[in-house]
């Protein structure tokens, strides 16, 4: 039978006090969940924002009357929609002064499809003039998007035969894109020549996305890159003058990014404050529990000294106990928060209505290491003051306090 060793003492002490140990571990677990979970959410939101910024290639987006909100939602993470102009808007808008590049896109929100949890946003674009989607797609797909083909966002389930079924028609998939954390993940991209086919398929299943007469020319938005020296607002004003159309919707993607960033910073700030306050409260609780436990254990620590333990040995025993508590609570907290967050990033993104992109493996690994260290250090901080006090030079006086 094995007997006690100096190295085994801290573990023995913890095991013989299961209630106290469990209470301390739970506090550290809660702190770690708050710290790790909060940090992971903030990191993912920031990754989503960066991803969204990278996808915002246009300075100005012209949309039909009263569709500004839908267009903004489409750019962030707010869901799919269908809207369109009924006139040749691209030609009208292109007459305005200050436009460097111009392209049209068509947005069709599909019916709920087998491929996806939600409705799919079908985005028609013109590869000849496009400057928004093509550079991004080009980084992952170097072929030509043929008529009738689609490029699928990361959130689209592509079937085994490499197709996606929408409106009862199986579209061949030319490529699938990487995750962006934005609504683009739930989108499929087709060239403009395919849009009338999509409208035709939707009519066949009894849910025409766009009236048949507009199928060839329906355009949802004009995306503009302004010339150097012009502001997006100036160009919008020029467009209003050039077209003579009142009530056009003007969306400024840069502004959306700024607004989203501002919203995100508010959330991050709240998360930071919450974690800080929670940590402080947890630390106070830990300090109180450690101090109370140490008071109970004065006689025990005096006994160590009587038997010849040095002050540093005594501090070592206490610190090792707290390190074990911190490590156990940290590991449990990280595991719980990971289970709650990592598998549900799509759901979380949808609930937050903000761009939300799961951070990379290495970033998450780094956060795990930092969170674990945070938990252990918190445990040590909570115990060190008591440890030093208990290892006072005149042990006899400590023992008398314990009597």
């Amino acid at each position: 039978m094995s007997h006690i060793t100096l190295a085994g003492l801290p573990l023995t002490n913890l095991r013989r006090k299961p209630f106290r140990t469990t209470a301390l571990v739970i506090v550290v677990t809660m702190l770690t969940v708050a710290f790790y979970g909060g940090s992971l959410l903030s990191m993912n939101l920031e990754a989503g924002l960066n991803s969204m910024q990278e996808r915002m290639g246009a300075d100005l987006m012209v949309t039909p009357q009263n569709t500004k909100n839908e267009a903004e939602a489409l750019l962030t993470n707010g869901g799919s929609s269908t809207f369109y102009f009924t006139n040749d808007i691209e030609n009208e808008v292109s007459k305005a002064d200050g436009i460097d590049e111009i392209t049209a896109q068509t947005y069709i929100s599909s019916l709920a499809a087998a491929c996806c949890d939600d409705k799919v946003q079908i985005i028609g674009f013109n590869p000849q003039t496009d400057f928004v989607i093509t550079p991004w797609i080009g980084s992952q797909f170097d072929g030509v998007l043929e008529d009738g083909q689609i490029i699928a966002g990361a959130g689209i389930n592509v079937s085994g035969n490499n197709t996606v079924k929408l409106y009862g028609h199986e579209f061949p998939v030319a490529a699938q894109l990487a995750n962006t954390g934005t609504s683009l993940d739930n989108s499929v991209f087709v060239n403009m020549n395919t849009v009338p086919d999509v409208v035709s398929y939707s009519s066949k299943v009894g849910h025409p996305a766009i009236p048949q007469e507009y199928a060839d020319k329906a355009v949802s938005a004009i995306l503009i890159k302004v010339k150097s020296g012009y502001s997006a607002q100036q160009v919008a004003s020029n467009i209003a003058k050039a077209t003579g159309l009142k009530g056009l919707g003007y969306v400024y993607p840069g502004g959306i990014t700024a607004t989203t960033k501002s919203n995100l910073m508010v959330i991050v700030r709240y998360v930071t404050i919450f974690v800080a306050v929670f940590w402080l409260m947890g630390l106070i609780v830990l300090l109180a529990v450690f101090a109370s436990a140490m008071n109970e254990r004065k006689r025990e620590f005096a006994a160590y000294r009587i038997m010849g333990a040095t002050r540093s040995t005594l501090v070592g025993i206490i610190i090792r106990e707290s390190v074990m508590i911190g490590a156990l609570g940290g590991a449990i907290g990280i595991a719980l928060a990971s289970l709650a967050i990592l598998p549900f990033s799509t759901l979380i993104g949808r609930q937050l209505q903000l761009p939300y992109l799961q951070s990379g493996v290495w970033n998450v690994m780094l956060l795990i290491v930092v969170s674990f260290a945070f938990a252990v250090i918190t445990g040590v901080i909570a115990s060190i003051a008591t440890a030093v006090k208990l290892s006072a030079p005149e042990t006899y006086l400590t023992l008398r306090e314990g009597e």
Binding site: I4, A7, E300, I306, M307, G308, T310
Partner: protein, 269 residues
Amino acid sequence: MNVLELHDLTREFTRRGKPFAAVDHVDLILREGEFIAIVGRSGNGKSTLLNLITGLLRPTGGSIMLDGRDIVALRDRQMSAIRNRVIGFVTQSQTLLPNLTVIDNVILPAVLEPGNHATDDDDSQETDDDAEETSSDQPPVDDGLPDVIAAAPVATDAATRSSDRLAGRARELLEMLEVADLADCYPKELSGGEMRRVSIARALMNRPKLLIADEPTGDLDAESTAIVMRLLRDVANSGTAVLMVTHDPDALAYVDYVFRMDRGVLSEA
């Protein structure tokens, strides 16, 4: 050989802003194999004197020579090593560790000090004594060594043998004190008298040169008192100096000399 020499030893405390001497210019010499008792009313400085000798309290003045070394100026690590190897201390209050079994409580002093060889070979007392002689000739502590907890021993045959030897020594002591059947119990399962006997076993674990006992029979009935006192007498007869504080008149029959402590002043009774 003198194991303990106290010269002009004084310890002052402050009470209501005024200093008073709990131990007042005490002189005492205790030789190998001697058994001394100190009697006196409570609050007259007996326990303070014992704690000064063990280095748990610092004196205000005077000197303490223990095993040939002046311990007053020693640093914590050196004093702790002496407390572990040279002194066995049975405290007045119960100081068994509640998280450890009786046998682990008794073994603990032997594992607290890395490199403690006092109990390495319990088959031969002579060998032990030789080892202690050798170790006492050298500085007990190397100040250059890091003052940290020893790493957990690797589970080798040697470690197992060492653990078995320690357990054997602890069981032997528990048998001598007639509490061997309680070896695997926890302190909360013991009576006051049983705890006291286990405390004595723990104090003897490292074969100390000086055994200090603060009212070792305080909680014991007459039969247990006799067991404990016979054991302490045997310890003294084997060469260990024993210094005991007691209120128990029955215990005095076993000692060589009796001293009285009155208001911090020690005198022969």
